[in-house]
């Protein structure tokens, strides 16, 4: 009994403050979460349009009642948002989706675009990451690295560390000084794209052509 009394005497301010500060953060989060989500959607649209310049608007497959799931960490399945990119003439010009995975510092969230047949990558961009500034965050702006993804096969990709004269199109040379982050990007794209492609073929959204 005395121990509990002593504990409360010593820490009552800390306990009350924790509740009060927690409440303050919860109020701020509730008040601004809509704006934060809207900013995220705006950025996603902006990045996707840059990757698929012919696209005029995007149809969320969720709204058509089509659900795509991929295997995330520890065997858990995670729902993925896949968008159909449509041109002004209402023709499908490609597909885009979000995928995430562990980077060097924290989770890396990507937006990935592929062509209409799901055969070739149109590219990727970074939606959110906390990689080390000046090192890991080169995945956002290293043009040579990013250019390798454009036109690469939409399937299993392999991260390689040295430039080989016989380099295959599915091999991506990682960035020196940002090895873990750039390997993580290859892994995220490779993992998500193979699973999404398989499900989309099963659902008849794309052909089975190789």
């Amino acid at each position: 009994m005395l121990k509990i009394k002593h504990f409360i005497q010593q820490s009552w301010l800390l306990i009350i403050s924790s509740f009060f500060f927690g409440l303050l953060i919860a109020i701020a989060n509730a008040r601004w979460s809509d704006e934060i989500e809207q900013n995220r959607i705006d950025k996603l649209n902006h990045l996707t349009v840059a990757l698929l310049p012919e696209a005029k608007h995007f149809i969320d497959l969720d709204t058509l009642g089509i659900e795509i799931e991929i295997e995330a960490s520890k065997g858990k399945r995670k729902k993925i948002k896949v968008y159909k990119a449509v041109s002004g003439a209402d023709e499908c010009v490609g597909w885009s989706f979000n995928a995430a995975g562990q980077g060097f510092q924290d989770k890396i969230e990507l937006v990935i675009a592929v062509d209409k047949d799901f055969q070739k990558l149109a590219g990727f961009d970074v939606l959110a990451s906390n990689e080390t500034p000046g090192l890991g965050d080169k995945i956002k702006y290293d043009d040579d690295y990013r250019a390798q993804f454009k036109g690469a096969p939409a399937g299993k990709l392999e991260a390689v560390r040295t430039l080989d004269a016989k380099k295959k199109r599915s091999q991506i040379v990682v960035i020196s000084g940002a090895t873990v982050s750039s390997e993580a990007v290859v892994k995220i794209i490779s993992n998500s794209i193979t699973q999404i492609k398989k499900q989309m073929q099963e659902k008849g959204l794309i052909g089975n052509g190789k």
Partner: protein, 211 residues
């Protein structure tokens, strides 16, 4: 009574000016070096960081000053950290909601304000020992001093790296028929170290001459 008022006004003035020059956190105390070097490649992110630090410093000094008589000595650092972390989280959410471009540009350096020495230093050295008014003035002086230092450093670096200030072209670029050749190194970490070193040397010379 008149003497008391005069003494209080003198104390407030001294507290305010200390942060701006005599005890400037960047140029005199060398505190908060991580954001000083990392976010000063351009003036806009530097100003955003400065304003965020002013907000956090002001709020944490107010809270710490109000509960200074209730603080247990062995738990005070924990209380400071809890207070600072709360206001940094709120500042981070605000930037993400209303200034997303700057939030993205500053990246992890906004959450890292939690470990900025200036804030915990002012909570320990000033707010936990002084009344509310002195704590507020101290927070404003230190915060504005930090922001000014960051903006001066960022101004020099942005001007030499791109010929702009606040992204407004000041120097005519050589590639567009002008005379200025951008000095790319100034936007890199090496530029931050060189500029900070030169500015510290300049401040030291001025201080020596004054004394």
């Amino acid at each position: 009574m008149a003497n008391d008022t005069k003494a209080a006004a003198c104390l407030y003035k001294q507290t305010l000016l200390a942060g701006l020059w005599r005890e400037n956190p960047v140029f005199r105390l060398l505190l908060g070096m991580c954001p000083t070097l990392a976010v000063t490649a351009a003036v806009k992110p530097a100003l955003t960081m400065g304003l965020s630090v002013i907000f956090v410093l002001l709020c944490s000094n107010i809270v710490v000053s109000l509960m200074r008589n209730l603080l247990k000595p062995h738990l005070r650092i924990l209380m400071f950290t809890l207070t600072i972390a709360t206001f940094v989280t709120i500042a981070d959410l605000f930037l993400k909601a209303f200034v997303p471009v700057m939030s993205e540009r500053l990246g992890p350096y906004v959450p890292l304000i939690i470990v900025n020495c200036i804030i915990i230093c002012r909570a320990e050295a000033c707010a936990s020992k002084n009344n509310l008014v002195v704590s507020i003035i101290d927070a404003l002086g230190m915060g504005v001093g930090f922001t000014l230092a960051l903006c001066i450093l960022a101004g020099v670096r942005e001007l030499l790296a791109t010929g702009t200030i606040f992204e407004i072209q000041i120097f005519a670029l050589a590639e567009k028929g002008g005379w200025f050749v951008p000095w790319a190194a100034m936007s890199m970490p090496v530029g931050a170290f060189i500029t900070l070193g030169l500015l510290l040397g300049l401040v030291n010379v001025v201080c020596k001459r004054k004394s």
